[in-house]
């Protein structure tokens, strides 16, 4: 019994670590600085969607004993499988570049040097950890360290109670004329950042790596709901922090260092240190998960030997793919695109392709041949389809507006 509790606790911690990443930090920082608490709804909606998705992907792996990508190819055929695969490849390569940028910026916050100097070293670190690191280390080490993100809430309490005026922006967002495009753009990016398809692939593959069975469903539900819930609280804390500190000073959260200013204001040098540590661990954790998720996706879809627990020579194509994918993302990050911009592009693009990326999985979750009696309940389908379509529509509307208004 105590072992199961340990598993549940670990599952929750991992989920928190998986939730917060460069996308969550960037969009939460931008949202708070520009629109007060007016985008907390997007964080909450996104959380609901990712809770549902993570629960589904764990249940799918435990019951069907199939792999995520394998099932999509089997159910819809090879030609169709290429569609979600290419959407994932485009979104994930941008996002991985941004996550590695986030780690590099965290290092530069410690040392003071330009972040690009550390970028190659960060890519090398990511590769080394994946090349030989055991799955447990990759899953647990960054998420345990990611607990420093709880200091965001401490900072809020140190800064004092938000004014009633600020609190009211939660349900009556202050969007000035001409800011509507920006508001929708950040909303789309936040939804795309929180509802990460890579997390779904990673989580379900992790469940297969750990040989989940029907008995794992309790752990699964707990880590999905509690873990993602706590992760969301951290995202909300960042929105509040930015709204409290950056908003009134007219600082726009244009760099990750500016997002960190709110922690420095609340806790002094310790705050900066905590922010840099949080940024480092959460982005590193997410980078590892994205590389693995992409390689899981391709290897499972093509039916190759896969698994992080195996030596590279035991799963050669899996390890070759992750190395090549890391190189591709490294190249994108090296193009000198600002990491915040890259994060916003990647997250909005993710929001745009959410239906393509996740609807096939939803169909499988309703197929008794895979899940027997444990298919989705109708309310899960309705809630998820609703949120995904909303994210898609917000992205479709905001992207042309942003282009027209000149970014």
């Amino acid at each position: 019994m105590s072992r199961q509790w340990l598993q549940i606790a670990l599952g929750i911690l991992t989920a928190i670590g998986g939730f917060v990443d460069v996308g969550a930090v960037t969009t939460a920082g931008e949202a708070g600085a520009q629109f007060g608490l007016g985008l907390i709804w997007a964080m909450v909606l996104g959380t609901l969607a990712i809770m549902l998705l993570v629960e589904m992907s764990g249940r799918f792996a435990a019951i069907s004993k199939k792999t995520y990508a394998g099932a999509i190819r089997e159910r819809f055929g090879f030609k169709f499988y290429l569609l979600p695969l290419s959407a994932a490849l485009a979104a994930n390569s941008m996002l991985l570049a941004a996550e590695m940028g986030g780690v590099s910026i965290a290092v530069s916050l410690f040392t003071g040097g330009p972040w690009r100097r550390y970028y190659p070293l960060v890519a090398l670190l990511v590769w080394l950890m994946i090349w030989r690191g055991p799955f447990k280390l990759i899953e647990n080490a960054p998420s345990l360290m990611g607990l420093v993100t709880f200091s965001f809430w401490v900072a809020i309490f140190l800064l004092g109670v938000p004014s009633p005026e600020l609190v009211s922006t939660m349900w009556r967002p202050r969007v000035e004329p001409g800011q509507m495009a920006g508001y929708l753009y950040i909303a789309a990016a936040m939804l795309g950042a929180v509802i990460s398809p890579y997390l779904v692939v990673f989580y379900s593959s992790g469940a297969r790596e750990e040989r989940w069975t029907r008995r794992s469903l309790v752990v699964n539900r707990a880590s999905a709901v509690v873990g993602m819930g706590f992760g969301s609280l951290i995202g909300i804390a960042l929105i509040i922090l930015s709204a409290l500190v950056l908003g009134p000073q007219g600082v726009g959260a244009n760099t990750l260092a500016e997002v960190g200013l709110s922690m420095a204001r609340a806790m002094g040098p310790l705050g900066s240190l905590l922010f840099a540590t949080a940024l480092f661990t959460t982005c590193l954790g997410a980078a590892l998960e994205i590389v693995l998720a992409m390689s899981y996706n391709i290897s499972q879809g093509f039916g190759w030997e896969w698994g992080e627990e195996k030596l590279p020579a035991e799963a050669p194509r899996f390890n070759l793919v992750l190395t090549l994918f890391l190189l591709l993302a490294f190249g994108i990050g090296w193009l000198n695109i600002d990491p915040i911009q890259l994060t916003l592009y990647a997250s909005t693009f993710t929001a745009l392709v959410l239906p393509v990326a996740l609807f096939p999985f939803l169909v499988i979750m309703n197929d008794r041949r895979y899940l027997g009696q444990l298919t989705n309940r109708p309310w899960m389908n309705v809630a998820l389809v609703g949120i995904l379509l909303m994210a898609f529509v917000v992205a479709v509307v905001s992207i042309p507006l942003m282009v027209l208004s000149g970014g």
């Binding site: 089997e74 090879f78 030609k79 190759w304 590279p312 050669p316 070759l320």
Partner: protein, 121 residues
């Protein structure tokens, strides 16, 4: 497998090929059937390879792949090798007994051995 068990296309197409030693060697890209004397249509082979896969996407892509690879990577596995069909297609032999099962070893020997800490021996 019991003789009366009926299979449909979706039990075979795109399903995972797993060898007797538990290795994942690929997915079914296509199948080959043949007319036997007496008018019986029998499923003869499972097919894997880039050409077969490309044919599933578009005809012109298959033509391109055929021009590039000239069938070098196309592999067939006789259906008599199938031991059972469940979440995966279980094969009777070990990975090294099938040409398609040797690809991983080839990549390990020719590429991964030059990358440090690959565990190649």
């Amino acid at each position: 497998m019991s003789e009366s068990e009926m299979l449909s296309m979706r039990d075979l197409m795109d399903n995972q090929l797993e060898t007797a030693d538990g290795r994942m060697i690929g997915r079914v890209a296509d199948v080959e059937a043949e007319w036997r004397d007496g008018g019986e249509l029998v499923l003869a082979n499972l097919v894997t390879g880039p050409q077969a896969l490309a044919g599933r996407v578009a005809h012109w892509l298959e033509v391109v792949m055929r021009f590039v690879f000239r069938g070098r990577f196309e592999r067939t596995i006789p259906t008599s090798e199938i031991e059972g069909i469940g979440p995966t297609i279980k094969l009777r032999g070990r990975a090294e007994e099938y040409l398609v099962g040797q690809s991983d070893r080839w990549i390990a020997r020719h590429i991964l051995r030059y990358i440090p800490w690959s565990g190649y021996w």
